[in-house]
Amino acid sequence: MSLFLQELVVGLATGSIYALIALGYTMVYGIIELINFAHGDIFMIGTMISVTILSALGITAESHPTGFTLIGVMVAACLGSMLLCAILGVVIERIAYRPLRNAPRLAPLISAIGVSLILQDVGKLWKGINFISFPQIFPKTSYHLGPAGNGVDISSVYILVIIVAVALMIGLQFMVTRTRIGRAMRAVAQDREAAALMGVNVDQIITVTFFIGASLAGAAGFIYGLQYGSTIFSIGFTLGLFAFTAAVLGGIGNLVGAMLGGVLIGIIEALASLIPDSTAPASHGFGLPHGGAAWHEAIIFAVLILILVFRPSGLLGSQTPEKV
C-alpha cells in the first residue's frame, strides 16, 4: 500500500508538469483547432533557457544558494523561461500558422510538425546531443508521512512543483473566466466570426493565447528541470506527446479537462511501474515482460484509446452533435 501511495505522489508531481504543458495544447486547440505539435518543443527550449539563465546567474551544480538569493534566482529563471518561451510561441504563430489560417486543415498541422522538427534541431545545435544537467538549486529534503518503515516519502521538490503548477493553473483559470481578455478568448473559441463581429480583435486574441500557452510551457520547463535534474533536446517530443494525450484525454479545448488529464496520465505512468516483470521468476508469469515501466507509454495510450472509445470527446469534453 505504501508503495502505491508513494507512486501516487510521484505521479501527481509528474502529472502537474504534464498538465501545465497540456494547457498550452488545449488552449491553442480551443481557439484555432490546431494540434500545435511544436508546443512540446517549446517546453524543451524552456528547460534549456532555464539552464542558461541559471548558469548566467553564476549557479553551478555545486552552489547551494539559500534564503532570498534562492528565491530570487528561481523566480528569475522561471519568469525568464516563461517570457522567452512566450515570445517564441508568438513568433512561431506569426510565421508558421497565421499565413495558414484559411488553408486546408492539414496544412497548419504539417507546418506545426515542421516547426517541431526545427526546434528539436535548434535545441540539438544549442546544447549538444547529450543530456545536460540542470543545477539542483532547490534543497531536497524528504518529509515522511505515516508510520516508520511503512509510509510515504514526499520530497520538497515535489511539493514545490505541485505548488507552482497549481498556482499557475488557478491563475490561468481566473484569467480565462474572470477577465475581459479571458472572455474574449472564450468568445473566439466559441465562434470566431461572431466574436469578430462583436468587436473582438481575433488576431490579437490568438496571439495572446499562444503567449500564455507558451509561457506555461516555459514554466513547466523550469519545474521539470528542478524535478529531474537533466534535460535533452528530444525531451520535448516525448513529454509533448504525453501532454497532448492528456489534453485529449480530458477533452481537448477544455482547460479543466487538460489539468485532470495531465494528472491522470502522470498517475497512470507512475502506477504502471508497479506492474511486475513476467519474465522474472518471482512473478509466476503474472505481469508484462520487462516490467510495467517499459510499457508505460503503451499503457498510457491504451488507456487513452479505451476512454475515447467510450467517451469520444474525452472525459470532460462536450458531446457536441456534428453540425450539418
Partner: protein, 670 residues
C-alpha cells in the same frame, strides 16, 4: 485524306512555320543536351561496342536493351514534336514556351547531370516553385491574363483536319531533319578531330537520311493521335445523316457541354482538346511522356552506367529504398487522401509487415517453437506468398485498429492512430521472445527467383521487384479511386453526414480505407525486411509516421502522381541530400568543406546530418505557406482551393441528365 506527300510538309505555310520553329527549338535543345551527355554514347556502344569506355556494359543482352531504350526514346520525342506542332493553337507566345521548357526540361537535365538523379530532381522541386512564384509576379506586373481556352474552342471541318495532319507530319519531319543535321555537324567535328571511328561515321550518315524519313512517318502517327482529340464538325456532304449521337455530331454537343461547364472544369477539359493553348500539358502529350518515363524506368539499371558512370549498384540500392517509401506514401494516401482520415500512426502497419516476414523469414519462428529450421532455400521461396501474407496481416490489423476509431472525429482520430503507432513498436520491442527485442531480427532471407542473385552487391533484382510492386500499387490506387468504394471514400472525406445520408455505410467504408492503406504498408514492410536482411525496432518511430504524412501532404493530398513525387522528394531531401553533403564536406578540395568549417567555428560539433530535421522542418513550413495544396494537387482539390478566383457566373452546372451517356465523365471525381 490524301496519302500522297503534300508539298506543304516540305514548304510549310507561315502559320505552320511559326509553330515549327517554336516547337523544334523547344524540343531540340533538351534532346541535344541529353544526346551529347549520354544518348550518343549509348548508341555508339550499340553500333560499335569496341569503342565503349569506362564501366559501360558491352555484352549482347545489355546492348539490345540499350538499343531498345534509345529507339523508344528518340521515336517518342520525334512523335511528340509532330503532336505538339499539330496540337498547338498558336495563341501563346514563343518566348514564354521557351522559358517554360528551359525551366522544366533543361534545368532538371543539367541538375541531374551534375548532381545525380535523386538530388537533381529534388533540387528541381525547389527550383520549380520559385519559378512559379517569379512567373506569377512577372505576370501580375505585366497585367497578363491567359487567353480564355473556351474562345479557341472550334469544330474542325475536313479541311482543317487535313491541316492538323499536315502540321503533325511537318513537325515530325522537320524535327527529325533538324536533329539529324545538328547531330551530323557535331559528329563531323568529332570525326575531323579524330575521335570518331569510321563505323560510327557511316552510322552518322545513315542516321541523317533515316531520321527525316522516320520523322515523316512518326509525324503521321502523331497526327492520327492528335486528330482523335479534335472536335469534328458535321460534314456538309452527308449532312442528311441522322448520326448526331455518334461520331461526327458529338463534336458540337461536346462543345456545347464545355461551354456550359463551370469555368474551372471547362479549362481542365479543354486542355485535352486539339488545338489548345498548352499542348505540353495536354493528355495527348502526357502519353508520350509516360512512354519515355516507362522506358527510362524499365531500362534504368542498364543505362545508369552511361548516365552517371561508376557506382550503379549503390545508386540502384538507394532507389530500391526510395521505392518502398513510394508504396507507403501511396498506401497512406488512401487513408488520408481519399477517405480523409488523419492517420498519425501509419508506421505501425509498416512494422507489422516488416516483422511478418522478419519472423517467418529467419530462424526466429522455428527457434521459438523449438522446431528444426526450415531449409533456407525453401524459406526464400516463401517470400512470395508472404508478400501477400504480410500485406493481409497488416490489413487485418488495420481493420482491427481502425475499429475503435469509428466513432471519433478529426483530431481525436489522429491521436488514437498516433497511440497505435506508439503501442505497436513497443509491443515488438518488449515481446522479445518473438521479436528478439531491441536487437531486432537478423538473418532474414532474401527472396528467391530462379537463380537470381539477391544481395547488397546485386541490387538489380530488388530494383525490378520494387518496380513491379510500385506498378501494382499505382494500378490498384487508380482502380480503387475510381471504384464505387473510392467514390464512397471521397464522399466521406467531403461530408460524412451527407455521405451517410446518401446510403454509404460509414463503418464498412472507413474500415476498408484503413485495411487498404495498411495492406500496402504490409507489402512495403515485407520488402523492407527482405532487402535489409533484418528488422530493427528503431525504424518504426513517430517521426517515420510524420515523414510518411509529409510525403502525402507535400506531394498533394489525394493526388496519385503528386504523392509519388512527394515521396521521392521527401526521401531525397530527408535521407539523401544531407547525408551526401557530409560526404562532400569530408573532401578538403570541395567547396562544402570550407562551408562546414566556417559553421563549425560558430557551432561546435556541427554536421549536416545533425541539421537534417532543421532543413526538413523549414521545407515543410515553407511549402505549407506557399503551396498548401502540395506540389501536384489533384484536380478536384485545385478546384476547391482556387474556387473563388476561377468560378464563373454559371457555377457548377450539371448539364447532362443523370443516366445519360457522358454523365459518368461529367460527375467523375478525382
Amino acid at each position: 485524306m490524301s496519302t500522297s506527300v503534300s508539298s506543304r510538309t516540305f514548304l510549310p505555310e507561315r502559320d505552320t512555320r511559326q509553330r515549327l520553329i517554336k516547337w523544334i527549338v523547344a524540343l531540340l535543345v533538351p534532346v541535344m543536351v541529353f544526346t551529347i551527355w549520354s544518348g550518343e554514347s549509348i548508341i555508339n556502344a550499340v553500333i560499335s561496342p569496341g569503342t565503349a569506355s569506362g564501366n559501360v556494359p558491352t555484352d549482347f543482352p545489355s546492348l539490345v536493351q540499350a538499343a531498345i531504350f534509345t529507339a523508344i526514346f528518340y521515336v517518342a520525342v520525334i512523335a511528340l514534336a509532330g503532336y505538339l506542332v499539330a496540337a498547338d493553337s498558336g495563341r501563346r507566345g514563343m518566348l514564354e514556351l521557351w522559358v517554360d521548357v528551359l525551366v522544366f526540361a533543361l534545368v532538371p537535365l543539367v541538375l541531374v547531370i551534375f548532381f545525380g538523379l535523386i538530388i537533381g530532381l529534388a533540387l528541381c522541386a525547389i527550383v520549380w516553385p520559385v519559378y512559379f512564384l517569379i512567373r506569377n509576379q512577372v505576370r501580375k506586373a505585366l497585367n497578363y491574363t491567359a487567353p480564355s481556352p473556351l474562345e479557341g474552342l472550334k469544330l474542325l471541318d475536313a479541311e482543317q483536319r487535313v491541316l492538323v495532319m499536315e502540321r503533325a507530319i511537318a513537325g515530325g519531319f522537320w524535327f527529325g531533319l533538324a536533329f539529324a543535321v545538328v547531330s551530323l555537324i557535331v559528329d563531323l567535328v568529332f570525326f575531323i578531330s579524330g575521335s570518331l571511328t569510321t563505323t560510327l561515321l557511316i552510322w552518322a550518315i545513315v542516321r541523317t537520311i533515316l531520321l527525316p524519313i522516320a520523322g515523316y512517318f512518326l509525324g503521321r502517327l502523331s497526327g492520327w493521335i492528335a486528330l482523335r482529340r479534335t472536335l469534328p464538325a458535321r460534314d456538309s456532304s452527308n449532312g442528311n445523316s441522322q448520326s448526331s449521337t455518334n461520331g461526327i455530331g458529338n463534336g458540337r454537343s461536346k462543345r456545347r457541354r464545355l461551354e456550359v461547364l463551370s469555368t474551372s472544369r471547362a479549362k481542365e477539359e479543354v486542355k485535352d482538346l486539339v488545338p489548345n493553348d498548352l499542348p505540353l500539358r495536354s493528355a495527348g502529350a502526357q502519353r508520350f511522356y509516360l512512354i519515355i518515363l516507362v522506358a527510362f524506368v524499365l531500362f534504368y539499371p542498364l543505362i545508369d552506367p552511361f548516365l552517371f558512370g561508376f557506382g550503379t549498384d549503390g545508386r540502384l540500392a538507394g532507389y530500391g529504398d526510395a521505392g518502398y517509401y513510394v508504396i507507403l506514401a501511396l498506401g497512406l494516401n488512401i487513408v488520408v487522401g481519399f477517405a480523409g482520415l488523419l492517420d498519425l500512426g501509419y508506421v505501425a502497419f509498416f512494422a507489422i509487415g516488416s516483422y511478418a516476414w522478419g519472423i517467418l523469414g529467419s530462424t526466429q519462428l522455428t527457434n521459438v517453437l523449438n522446431l528444426a529450421p526450415v531449409n533456407p532455400h525453401l524459406l526464400s521461396w516463401l517470400f512470395w506468398p508472404m508478400l501477400l501474407g504480410g500485406a493481409l496481416i497488416a490489413a487485418f490489423w488495420g481493420v482491427l485498429l481502425g475499429a475503435p476509431t469509428l466513432r471519433l472525429r478529426g483530431d481525436y482520430l489522429a491521436i488514437v492512430t498516433l497511440g497505435f503507432g506508439e503501442i505497436v513498436p513497443i509491443v515488438f520491442l518488449e515481446l522479445d521472445k518473438y521479436s528478439n527485442g531491441p536487437n531486432g531480427i537478423v538473418g532474414v532471407q532474401s527472396p528467391a527467383f530462379f537463380g537470381l542473385q539477391w544481395s547488397v552487391i546485386t541490387p538489380t533484382p530488388y530494383y525490378y521487384l520494387i518496380l513491379a510492386l510500385i506498378a501494382i500499387t499505382i494500378f490498384a490506387n487508380f482502380r480503387l479511386r475510381d471504384s464505387r468504394l473510392g467514390r464512397a471514400w471521397i464522399a466521406i472525406r467531403e461530408d460524412e453526414i451527407a455521405a451517410s445520408s446518401s446510403g454509404i455505410n460509414l463503418v464498412n467504408t472507413k474500415l476498408f480505407a484503413f485495411g487498404a492503406g495498411a495492406f500496402f504498408s504490409g507489402i512495403a514492410g515485407a520488402y523492407h525486411a527482405a532487402k535489409l536482411g533484418g528488422v530493427s525496432p528503431d525504424n518504426f518511430n513517430f517521426t517515420d509516421s510524420v515523414v510518411f504524412l509529409a510525403m502525402v501532404v507535400i506531394g498533394g493530398i489525394g493526388s496519385i502522381p503528386g504523392v509519388i513525387v512527394g515521396a521521392l522528394s521527401v526521401y531525397a531531401v530527408n535521407l539523401f541530400i544531407l547525408a551526401q553533403l557530409d560526404t562532400l564536406a569530408a573532401d578538403p578540395t570541395n567547396f562544402m568543406f570550407t562551408v562546414k568549417n566556417s559553421i563549425i567555428h560558430v557551432i561546435p560539433g556541427f554536421t549536416f546530418g545533425n541539421i537534417r530535421n532543421l532543413v526538413f522542418g523549414i521545407i515543410l513550413v515553407v511549402i505549407m505557406i506557399f503551396r498548401p495544396e502540395g506540389l501536384i494537387p489533384s484536380a478536384r482539390r485545385r478546384r476547391e482551393l482556387r474556387h473563388a478566383e476561377d468560378e464563373g457566373p454559371g457555377g457548377d452546372v450539371l448539364d447532362v441528365v443523370p443516366g445519360a451517356p457522358g454523365f459518368e465523365t461529367e460527375v467523375r471525381v478525382e
